[in-house]
């Protein structure tokens, strides 16, 4: 049965950077060596960090859950091999901030003994929500680099029907080849995963998109997908940033995902090919997400290649295995050269979102070019996939005109880096946008703080007023019985005094009525806010996903005492935007 080829659409802008993909695809993928220890950060995904359920000294089996998901947008963590828990403490993690976070450290015992698991091949009989639960418990997150818990994106919710499931095998960033390798070598798992996803989403059709610089992967997927109804494979012309979710949705469906909206809102869901394979393993084999394909490349690596790596493996051991010349490494990048971030150390652990490690040499980067003034050439606007005016954003961000940058739709920027890439003046444009975003978030928090401070102040004034009135009322009560006894005698006051007093009383009454109303309103507002806070992570995933970081979200929710790190905010926001 042959199906109509997928009609492809265009997206605005984009660039054709040097691919650098051949280096790491000359050899088939291999297993990474078992490291001496595995460091498993509890926060490897978008959302709340997982909560450990083991203690130091415990022995664990391969695939055993060692940390529970904490809340709706979260993912559990599993032991990638059998061994002993030797530490649960703060460790440096791969994050743009370079900060440390809580991690569980396992010392492998070398047996690699699996925990008991239950394969489930009759998923098609199962309720989609049951499948989502298994996927959730398996700790599967978007493996394209974003790390958003996958089960949420397999829930169509109350949305209208899902028309298209797009499987993203575009891999548009230079250097990265892990999805390419996976598609070449394990198309079967991917296609099986697609069946599960389609069942969970009840999606009408599925399109697997692959860029035309991966002919082997395309062949392999086409072979595996042949004859399956409602499943088509699209070979899309190579162009960065086609793998970005919104751009890919446009290429495949011709529709623009609304600003501030999700692909879901126009009946489309996007998942990465590696995520599909992981879902297959979770359902069919019962195995949680404990390893992934990672591209080890860069000029400082002698044998660049793809490795199947246990989550938590320190990167220096992987580089060692691929023959890296450590003294040549000028910069270590996790992810691609366009959107990945530079790491501060070499011995950080591989996490669920580590798709590529680039050990770049000095010559390779060639970044010592000084930034020159903008000559308004407009090359940035020509390549912007979101059709922003990067130049105007730059001027306003530089001038710290935060209202103006928002007028120019700063928050639609996906930080793909095309503008910086083509800029003849070498202006680090994306850096300016990140700065402006961070500054705006900080400003918003300041506003919130001052709003709360003002409310508190008003409340205090009100309380003082009320207490004063109460005291007066008490005094008045004490005095009151006496005049009551001699009613015959009117109080010795003249008309003017009387009128004055009456006016005061009337005003006090009105004030207290108003105050009462105010407190009522405020109480209601507080209730609503509290409800929202509770509800946000549970009912509506996008809301939670859009909040800068869990840390920032909790800062907003609680009293405004702690100051959240704006650079960390920016970074996480980027992670989210990068979703593939």
């Amino acid at each position: 049965m042959s199906m109509a080829p997928v009609k492809l659409w265009d997206f605005h802008g984009g660039i054709h950077p040097e691919q650098n993909k051949l280096q790491s695809t000359t050899e088939p993928s291999a297993l990474a060596q078992l490291p001496k220890k595995l460091v498993l950060p509890l926060h490897q995904h978008i959302g709340e960090a997982a909560e450990p359920i083991v203690e130091i000294g415990d022995t664990v089996l391969k695939g055993q859950k060692i940390a529970n998901a904490n809340g709706y947008v979260s993912a559990p963590v599993h032991a990638p091999t059998s061994g002993k828990i030797i530490d649960i403490s703060e460790h440096p993690i791969p994050h743009p901030s370079g900060l440390s976070a809580l991690a569980i450290v396992i010392e492998p015992d070398g047996r690699d003994a699996w925990v008991e698991y239950t394969p489930d091949q009759d998923y098609s009989e199962k309720n989609p929500s049951h499948l989502r639960n298994i996927i959730r418990e398996a700790g599967i997150v978007g493996l394209g680099g974003a790390g958003f818990p996958s089960f949420i994106k397999l829930n169509p919710g109350s949305q209208k029907k899902i028309k298209t499931l797009i499987l993203n095998g575009v891999e548009c960033e230079p250097y990265i080849t892990c999805d390419d390798m996976l598609m070449r070598e394990d198309a079967h798992s991917i296609i099986e995963g697609v069946h599960i996803m389609r069942h969970a989403l009840q999606a009408e059709e599925c399109v697997i998109a692959i860029e035309d610089n991966k002919p082997e992967a395309y062949e392999s997927i086409c072979k595996a997908a042949a004859g399956i109804a409602g499943l088509r494979v699209a070979l899309v012309p190579t162009r960065y940033p086609q793998g970005s979710e919104k751009q890919l949705v446009q290429v495949i469906t011709g529709k623009e995902v609304p600003s501030n909206g999700l692909a879901l809102h126009i009946g489309v869901v996007c998942h990465n090919v590696a995520t599909a394979a992981a879902i297959y393993r979770a359902i069919h084999l019962g195995q949680p997400l404990i390893s992934r394909m990672v591209t080890i490349t860069g000029q400082a690596v002698k044998q660049p290649r793809n490795l199947e790596v246990l989550i938590g493996t320190p990167m220096d051991e992987l580089l060692q295995q691929c023959g890296a010349e450590f003294d040549q490494i000028e910069r270590l990048v996790m992810g691609g050269p366009m959107m990945g971030f530079a790491l501060h150390e070499i011995n950080l652990p591989v996490i669920k979102t580590t798709n590529c490690i680039i050990a770049a040499t000095r010559e390779e980067l060639g970044l010592d070019r000084p930034a020159m003034p903008c000559i308004r050439c407009g090359a940035c606007a020509d390549v912007c996939p979101v059709k922003l005016l990067p130049q105007q954003l730059y001027w306003h961000a530089r001038a710290k005109e935060l209202d103006k940058v928002q007028e120019y739709d700063l928050f639609d920027c996906i930080e793909c880096g095309c503008c910086s890439y083509v800029c003849p003046s070498n202006i680090p444009l994306v850096q300016y946008y990140r700065f402006a975003k961070g500054a705006i978030w900080t400003q918003e928090q300041e506003h919130k703080k001052s709003d709360q401070a003002r409310e508190r102040h008003e409340f205090r004034l009100m309380r003082i007023e009320r207490e004063k009135r109460e005291r007066e009322a008490k005094r008045a009560k004490k005095k009151a019985p006496r005049p009551k006894t001699d009613t015959a005698k009117p109080p010795p006051v003249d008309g003017a005094q009387m009128a004055d007093k009456m006016r005061q009383e009337a005003m006090a009454q009105r004030d207290s009525a108003e105050a009462a109303r105010k407190t009522e309103i405020q109480a209601a507002l507080a209730r609503v806010q509290a409800k929202k806070k509770d509800a946000a992570p549970k009912t509506d995933a996008p809301v939670a996903a859009n909040s800068p970081t869990p840390a920032a979200a909790s800062t907003q929710a609680s009293t405004p005492t702690s100051d959240s790190d704006s650079s960390a905010d920016t970074a996480t926001h980027k992670d989210h935007e990068q979703s593939q």
Binding site: P96, A360, P370, A381, K387, D412, E415, Y421
Partner: protein, 357 residues
């Protein structure tokens, strides 16, 4: 092992301002070659004087402004400005004309506004207009194409004349000079002649013109020589579009609007309005369309904005050429539209992804 960890992207395109400017200068070569062929070595001498002046002024002001000298001096923008001014000057202008014009362009029009990227007006055109207004006699003493001149100068003689105003024996400056075709046409039309009469008088072959003692400066479509120079700039400009150094919007809009309005008036009254091709291939139309109006710093930036901007230049050029006080008007038109660029940018933004119109 701690690393230096700057933010993404970690890979940049092999491009720079210097590269862009050099490509533009390279694209000027066919036009300059035609220029030398028809009008002698004067333009080369002028370019040399202009470049030296521009670099000196740029270096001086950068030093005074305490800015790094080398990166800005090597960006090529001052050199490009210098070459463009030299191309607009009469080939036998005295050296001080070039020096004053270039110095004014670099110091006043560019550096005093903040240097590269900050000047609201095209420096080359500011320099040219200043010269045109201040030294009208020197700026209109053009020479006829070599093939028509009674006597032409070699490179050394040209340089001697430009630098020291000395001519070889037996040649007078007046014998060398001649009004440009645009200038002659304007003068004769003002005297009540029709286009055909002017062309008949000034477009004769060499033999007939000697009898009538006029110089046949009109060629097949534009001015003699000028049409080839225009063709050279057109060729270079198309190459710039092909290599994506400039976008097609401004040149197409400018030449298109110039073509449209001149065609309109030519169709209405061919006796008193020059042909559209004459307008396109005379004066600075081609140079302006591909090399001057496309200066990104002073032009509109969005694609729709660029079209408006280019159309404006084309229309102003025609209006001033036809009814204004100057024979050519590209410089004035460019400066007028420079003023409008920020306004155009304000009103013509592209619609952002995901925002419904």
């Amino acid at each position: 092992m701690p690393f230096n960890a700057p933010t993404s992207p970690h890979q940049l395109a092999p491009t720079s301002i210097t590269r862009v400017m050099m490509l533009v200068i390279l694209a000027l070569i066919p036009g300059i070659a035609a220029y030398v062929w028809f009008f002698g070595w004067g333009v080369v001498v002028n370019i040399c004087i202009a470049v030296v002046t521009a670099l000196s002024c740029e270096a001086l002001i950068l030093k005074l402004r305490q800015r790094p000298v080398l990166p800005f001096l090597s960006d090529g923008s001052a050199v490009l400005t210098a070459v463009l001014i030299a191309l607009t000057l009469p080939p036998l202008s005295p050296w001080w004309i070039t020096v004053i014009g270039v110095a004014f362009a670099i110091i006043i029009a560019k550096q005093l506004y903040g240097g590269l990227g900050y000047n609201p007006f095209n420096p080359a055109m500011v320099g040219y207009v200043m010269l045109l207004i201040s030294f009208p006699r020197e700026m209109t003493s053009w020479i006829p194409p070599n093939e028509l001149a009674d006597s032409s100068l070699g490179f050394i003689d040209t340089a001697m004349f430009i630098l020291f105003s000395t001519l070889p024996d037996g040649i007078s400056f007046d014998a060398l000079t001649e009004a440009t075709p645009l200038d002659s046409l304007k003068t004769h039309l003002a005297l009540g002649n029709t286009v055909d009469e002017v062309r008949a008088q000034l477009g004769l072959d060499a033999e007939a013109s000697r009898v009538l003692s006029v110089i046949p400066i009109f060629g097949a479509i534009g001015g003699k020589g000028w049409e080839w120079i225009g063709g050279g700039f057109l060729l270079g400009g198309l190459w710039l579009i092909y290599t994506k150094v400039i976008s097609w919007h401004i040149p197409v809009a400018m030449l298109g609007s110039l073509l449209a309005i001149s065609a309109l008036f030519y169709l209405i009254d061919p006796a008193h309005f020059a042909t559209p091709m004459f307008h396109l291939f005379s004066g600075a139309a081609m140079l302006g369309a591909f090399f001057i109006a496309t200066d990104p710093v002073t032009a509109a930036s969005s694609n729709r904005g660029k079209i408006i901007y280019g159309c404006g230049i084309g229309l102003f050029t025609y209006i001033i050429r036809t009814w204004g006080g100057y024979p050519d008007a590209v410089a004035f038109a460019v400066l007028l539209m420079n003023m409008c660029a920020p306004l155009i940018d304000h009103y013509f933004k592209s619609s952002v992804f995901g925002h419904k119109k």
